[in-house]
Amino acid sequence: MRLHHHAAAVEPEARDVPVVALVGRPNVGKSTLFGVATGRFAETVNAPGTTVAAERRLVHLPQGDAYLVDLPGTLSLEDTPAGSEPFWRDLLDARPDAILIVGDAGDLRRHLPLALACRDLGLPIVFAANLADEADARGIDIDAGRLSQLLAAPVHVTTGRAGRGVMAAVGEAVRLARQRRAFLNGAAPRGTVPARVYGPRLELQIQNLAATIAPAHSLGAAALDTLGWGLGDLVGESAISARGAASLRLGHDLEQARWRVAAAWAAQVERCRDVPVRLSDRFAVWSTSLWPGLPIFLAVTALVFGTMMWVGGTLSTLLTDAWSATVSPVLGTTIHAVVPQPVLAAGLLWGLDGGMLALLSVGIPYILTFYVLLAALEDSGYLTSAAVLTDRLFNTLGLPGRAAIPLLAASGCNVPAIYGTRVLPTHRERLLGAFLVTMTPCSARSAVVVAAVAPFAGPLAAVGAFGLIAAITFASGLAANALVPGRQPALVLELAPIRRPIARHVVRKAWRRFAEFVRTAAPIMLIGSVALGLLYESGLIWYATAVLDPVVRGWLGLPSVAGLALVFSFLRKELALQLLVALAVIQLGAGAAGLGSIMSPAQLFVYAIVTSVSVPCVATLAALRGEFGWRSALTMSGSTLVIALATGGVLARLLGTV
């Protein structure tokens, strides 16, 4: 959500409510602090750059009501964390009356430059020295009083994850925001005036430039605004001071000076004690080296995959068994009683019963389990370590190392992996990641490959099939990287500290994402199931064999019935084999009761490859649509179909089935 022009859209009574903006470097705990202050969960990740849009909530405090705005983490006011616009535009679009700067109490040297930049704008600021518990564990204490003197602003020591000091810091910011709002409405001015800290030369430069930035309501201001930055407007609307406007124009020149001042101030206010190095800090170092980082990475991924398969599989069996035993019979009886038309009734039953079974067998068990695991990994900070370790490998596909997480998850189920691509920082990387996810064999597709190939062509052929799928996926990734416009930015990533995940954060985050999945994917799964059911029950599906024959028989060298099974596998990939046998029995008679009687080993190999690589299932398509829109979802799915058919056709000729 961009905040441009939001002031105009705000309801009239909201205009009188002051606004406090939360500003800080990435991964400093702004969203956690925001969640504590507003009393509602805000999604957080222990990795830089995870808040990509602003969120605005009304808070009621003893100091009065105020809007809190959580903005994306930024390295400086000129940084572009949410796209092409500099951060200061997003900040000022929120029309803040005060800024609550969230910094790391254990690393003030890196966090004070942003506080200085905000202070230069001429708005009241409060500095929250957050992550105080971690600073303490590292043997760092800060003299908040001295820092407050230097900044000429209130300083509060906070621990967002435990909620300590948060309300005091937010309350102070709200108080200052209300004071400023009262001043703008005609009360006596009580704002803070920034101390001059940059030395005579720079201060004179700021002063001279400030004198040339005329408020927009003054005569000729528009003519003076030759850069088109709109700074005169902002000064005229009292959004910032003239000095603040000048500091934005001199942003780059001032940045070096801010870092110098920050280093000097940090040295004054930090007190260091000798403490033993924490295990989590040791682990952070280990996890970014080949040894023991690589075994740790493999163990973590195996743990994620194994847990997802075991918990997901168990839940899947329990839920589907319970549904089939209790709801399915009642649903069948009710629908047939209510809907007199048999074809329509059967079609509806496909949708409601089959669709819900699909949701219960895939959606709830695997996706919810994966979300819990992903949330725990995000909260732990391990994702940035994994990203660094696998960066080089994934760079060849135009992806950063952290793409390893969703891609590994995709081998369990593609759907949560599509949502898991949110850990990737840019839209291009998310698109490329999601495309590779759709080509990664999920557990259902892997089962099809094993069951179709191993018994008839031998285990080595099954291994070869997986190798071929991996090669196709890699080649497709290379092609997509070349075809999708844009370039992968070179890696510069601050490594997140390793922390113990907090259970309530993990559960809330997983539940929030899961609810979003159910909202977006469930309707499509149910409607798709009804449509396929109606086609099947009305017999129209059999006409499809004639349409599909040129491709299925002519190009892939497979029997006609295989085309129908491929169509149905769109509903659930694991149905590809069961349905193939069932449809073959219906079409060809009882003699076609086994896969071996329908197709040769070579044909089964081709069928397995095409099933595995081609169009993802309806749940994956729904997830793709939810995340990227119909156009991208259909483009990706269409591409996989083309790749699958091309590969299948070539294989058919190589194996002599055509």
């Binding site: 390295l75 400086s76 000129e78 940084d79 254990g106 690393d107 040297r109 890196r110 430059p113 590292r138 940045e255 070096q256 870092w259 952070a284 170092v285 970014t288 080296s289 080949l290 940035t384 990203a387 660094v388 370790l389 960066d391 080089r392 070179a490 890696l491 510069v492 990533l493 601050e494 490594l495």
Partner: protein
């Protein structure tokens, strides 16, 4: 690209690790750890610290 991370003229840093096969460098900058692609690191000129015992 590096200025907002605090890497500027005169800053002391320490290369903690170079990952194999052209992987990124891990750099310590004060209390922070940064991963940096080699293409980015190639643009940074460094010289040994003057003060003995200081981190590089």
């Amino acid at each position: 690209m590096l200025e907002p991370e605090g890497i500027d003229v005169g800053v002391e840093l320490c290369v903690e690790r170079r990952l194999a096969l052209g992987g990124p460098l891990i750099v310590r900058l004060g209390r922070a750890r940064l991963a940096m692609a080699r293409s980015v690191a190639a643009g940074v000129t460094v010289e040994p610290a003057v003060e003995s015992g200081s981190r590089r």
